[in-house]
C-alpha cells in the first residue's frame, strides 16, 4: 500500500451556504515521492492539505496514512500522528514570535516529552543542518524570511517525520530564497528519503518537484510526471 492512500474523499463546509470543496478525491502517494499539488485559489488544494495533515476532517471516503485509517480520531490521537508522522511548513512560517529559533525548533519534542537537554541537542543539530547555528538564540523578528522558513523546516524535521507537508512554502519569499528553500526540500527528499508534498500555485515551484498534481474545482485533474523538471520553463519566476 502506498504511504498516502485517498479514496473518494468528499468534504463540504457548512458555513451558512454549504460549500462542496472536495468532490471525490482519489490519490495515492508513494513513500519517498516529491510531489506538488497545484491549483488556483478556491480549488480545494489547501483543504486537501489540511486533510492530509490531519488538521481537518473529511466527510466521506477513506484516508490511509502508512496503512492506518485516519478517520474519527480523538484529538489526542490526531495530535500524536501529527507530532510523529508529519512535519508542517507554512507559508507564513508560523514560528512562535516570543521564542528563539532554538526554542521554536525544540517545541515539537517538548510535546513528545523529550528531556530538555536532549531536545536542545537535537534542535542545535537540525539548526546546524539548516546552516543557522549562529541564529539559534535569535527571535523570529530578527531573521530574514528565508531564515525563518529554514527554522520552520528544522522544526518540521526534528520529529523525524515520514512526510513533510508544505503549504505555499515560498509564498512569502523572494525568488532567490524561494529557489534555496526548494533546493533544501529537494535535498531532504533525495538524501533522507522523506516524502514531501508541496502545495503551491506557482508553476516554477511545482516544477522543482517530481510529480505535479493539478486540482481544479475539488477534483483531481491531470497528474504530470515531471522527473526531468521541464514544466513551466524550469525556473522560478516572480
Amino acid at each position: 500500500m502506498a504511504l498516502i492512500e485517498l479514496k473518494d474523499i468528499n468534504k463540504t463546509y457548512n458555513n451558512g451556504q454549504p460549500l462542496h470543496v472536495l468532490k471525490g478525491i482519489n490519490l495515492s502517494i508513494e513513500r519517498g515521492e516529491f510531489v506538488s499539488i497545484m491549483g488556483a485559489s478556491g480549488s480545494g488544494k489547501s483543504t486537501l492539505l489540511n486533510i492530509l495533515g490531519i488538521l481537518d476532517n473529511y466527510d466521506t471516503g477513506t484516508y490511509h496514512l502508512d496503512g492506518k485509517l485516519i478517520k474519527d480520531l480523538t484529538e489526542k490521537q490526531a495530535a500524536d500522528y501529527r507530532n510523529r508522522m508529519i512535519g508542517f511548513v507554512f507559508q507564513s512560517f508560523n514560528l512562535i514570535s516570543f521564542k528563539t529559533a532554538l526554542e521554536n525548533v525544540e517545541l515539537p519534542l517538548y510535546y513528545q516529552g523529550v528531556p530538555r537537554r536532549k531536545r536542545q541537542e537535537m534542535a542545535m543539530e537540525y539548526l546546524e543542518k539548516m546552516g543557522l547555528t549562529p541564529w539559534a538564540t535569535h527571535f523570529p523578528n530578527e531573521m530574514s524570511g528565508g531564515q525563518k522558513q529554514r527554522v520552520a523546516i528544522a522544526r518540521a524535521l526534528i520529529t523525524k517525520p515520514q512526510i513533510i507537508l508544505a503549504d505555499e512554502p515560498t509564498g512569502a519569499l523572494d525568488s532567490k530564497t524561494s529557489v534555496e528553500v526548494m533546493q533544501l526540500l529537494k535535498q531532504l527528499n533525495q538524501q533522507d528519503g522523506i516524502t514531501i508534498i508541496v502545495v503551491t500555485h506557482e508553476g516554477g515551484v511545482a516544477n522543482e518537484t517530481d510529480k505535479i498534481i493539478h486540482i481544479k474545482d475539488g477534483i483531481i485533474g491531470e497528474i504530470e510526471e515531471n522527473t526531468r523538471h521541464t514544466a513551466w520553463g524550469g525556473t522560478i519566476i516572480k
Binding site: 488538521l55 481537518d56 484529538e75 495530535a79 507530532n83 507564513s92 516570543f98
Partner: protein, 418 residues
C-alpha cells in the same frame, strides 16, 4: 509520560505571563487587592474587637451586680416607693439556695475621700471596702505587694491596696510603697500593694486606678455601715448561663425583704454577660460584612483574571493553533491555560497576603506600648493558609472558561488568521 510539574511547563507558563507584563500586573492587581482587603479587614476587625474587649479587661465575663433601690410595685401590704437594703444574711441565702453561683461578694464604695501620705502629698480617691474574693470579679494587676486576703478582713486590719493613679500622686518618687502608711479621714492604713490595673470603659464604682481598697469589715467599722450591703457582686459557675439563674437570685433576695421579685427597679441588676453578648454579636456582624466585602472584591478580581485570560486566548489563537499543529494535545493546552491563570492568581494573592501581613505588623508595632501589645491585629496563620488554598481553587476556576475556549482552537485556525 510527561510529569505535571516540571521546569519546562513552568517556563512555558512564566514566559506567557511575563510576555505581557503590564497586563498581567493589572490583572493580578484585582486579585491582590481582594486578598489584601480581606486579610487587612479580618486582622483589623479582630484587633478592634480586642481593643473593645480590653475595655472590659479584668472583669469576669459572667459577672452580675445588684443594687437595692426604692420599690416601684406594692407588695404584701407594703406601698410602692419603700426604701430597703440588702444585708449580709443575703450572702448566705444565695450561697445556700443558688448553688450555681461561684463567688458572692459584697463591696462598698465611699466617694471623694481625701487620701494623704504627709502634708505635701494628697490625692482624692474612692475608698472601696472589699473582701479578698472581690479579686474574682475585678482582677487586680499587682505591681507591688499583694491584694487583700481573708485574714485582712477577718482581723479587720488597717491595710490598703492603692490604685495606680493614687500611688503616682502619693509616691511621686516611685519605688515599692509596701509597709508605708497613708491617712484616710484621720485613720492610718499601711500599704500592702499597688494595683496597676488601668480600667477601661467598664467600672464598678469608679476607676480602679482612683481607688484605695481596704478590707470591707474595716470600712464597716470605721464608717459605721452596719449590716447593710450596698452592692453585691456575683459570678456564675463555669458553664452556667447567668440569665438562667437571675430569676432565682431575685426570688431569694426579694422574698427575704418583702420585695416583689418582678420589681426590676427595686432590685437593679447589671449583667455583664449581656453586654459581652452585644459586643460579640456586633463583631459577628462586622466579621460577616468583612468577609462579604473581601470575598466580593476577591471574586471581582478573579473574574477579571478569567476575562483577561479569555482575551489572551483569543489573541493567541495563532500561537495555540501552531502548538496544536506540531503535536500539542488539547489536554496540554488546557493544562497550560489553567496553570497560567492559577499561577497569576496565586502569585498576586500571595503578594496580597504578604503585604497585608506587613501592614498589620506595622499596626501592631504602633499599638505596642512599653513592649506590651494592646491588641493582636495579625491574621492567624490558619486564615492565611485558608486564603492561599482558596486562591489556588479560584485560580483554577478562573482558568476553566478560557481554557475550554483555547481547547476548541483547531490547528487550522493557525493558518486562517493571517
Amino acid at each position: 509520560m510527561k510529569k505535571w510539574f516540571d521546569t519546562d511547563t513552568f517556563r512555558e507558563i512564566l514566559d506567557s505571563i511575563l510576555r505581557n507584563r503590564s497586563r498581567s500586573l493589572l490583572t493580578g492587581f484585582g486579585v491582590f487587592w481582594g486578598v489584601f482587603m480581606l486579610m487587612l479587614l479580618t486582622g483589623g476587625g479582630q484587633g478592634l474587637k480586642q481593643i473593645l474587649m480590653n475595655e472590659f479587661d479584668g472583669f469576669a465575663q459572667n459577672t452580675c451586680i445588684v443594687f437595692a433601690d426604692q420599690t416601684s410595685k406594692p407588695y404584701k401590704g407594703f406601698k410602692k416607693g419603700r426604701s430597703w437594703n440588702m444585708n449580709y444574711a443575703d450572702l448566705d441565702r444565695l450561697r445556700n439556695l443558688v448553688p450555681e453561683l461561684e463567688t458572692i461578694t459584697p463591696v462598698v464604695s465611699l466617694w471623694g475621700k481625701s487620701v494623704s501620705r504627709n502634708d505635701n502629698t494628697s490625692s482624692s480617691a474612692v475608698v472601696k471596702g472589699a473582701r479578698a474574693d472581690y479579686a474574682n470579679i475585678e482582677t487586680p494587676r499587682m505591681m507591688y505587694g499583694r491584694y487583700l486576703n481573708d485574714s485582712d478582713n477577718a482581723q479587720e486590719r488597717k491595710v490598703c491596696v492603692l490604685g495606680k493613679k493614687v500611688y503616682d500622686e502619693l509616691f511621686p518618687e516611685g519605688g515599692d510603697p509596701c509597709g508605708q502608711r497613708i491617712r484616710i479621714d484621720g485613720s492610718y492604713y499601711s500599704v500592702i500593694g499597688v494595683d496597676w490595673k488601668e480600667s477601661g470603659g467598664i467600672n464598678i464604682n469608679g476607676r480602679a486606678s482612683d481607688a484605695v481598697t481596704i478590707p470591707i469589715n474595716q470600712a464597716r467599722k470605721v464608717y459605721n455601715l452596719g449590716d447593710r450591703v450596698y452592692m453585691l457582686c456575683f459570678t456564675a459557675k463555669e458553664g452556667i448561663t447567668m440569665n438562667d439563674i437571675i430569676p432565682r437570685v431575685r426570688e431569694v433576695i426579694a422574698r427575704a425583704h418583702y420585695v416583689d421579685p418582678t420589681d426590676e427597679q427595686a432590685m437593679f441588676l447589671l449583667n455583664t454577660q449581656l453586654i459581652f453578648g452585644i459586643v460579640d454579636n456586633l463583631f459577628k456582624g462586622i466579621n460577616f460584612l468583612i468577609w462579604l466585602i473581601g470575598l466580593g472584591t476577591l471574586l471581582a478580581g478573579v473574574i477579571g483574571v478569567s476575562n483577561i485570560m479569555m482575551v489572551s486566548v483569543k489573541e493567541r489563537t495563532t500561537e495555540i493553533g501552531i502548538r496544536r499543529a506540531i503535536g500539542a494535545t488539547p489536554r496540554q493546552i488546557l493544562g497550560q491555560i489553567i496553570s497560567e491563570s492559577t499561577v497569576l492568581t496565586l502569585v498576586a494573592g500571595m503578594m496580597g497576603i504578604v503585604f497585608s501581613v506587613l501592614i498589620l505588623y506595622g499596626v501592631e508595632l504602633a499599638m505596642t506600648q512599653d513592649g506590651i501589645l494592646k491588641a493582636p491585629f495579625q491574621v492567624p496563620f490558619a486564615t492565611a493558609v485558608l486564603a492561599a488554598s482558596l486562591l489556588a481553587v479560584l485560580g483554577v476556576v478562573a482558568g476553566l472558561m478560557p481554557a475550554t475556549r483555547a481547547m476548541q482552537i483547531k490547528p487550522v485556525d493557525a493558518m486562517r488568521d493571517e
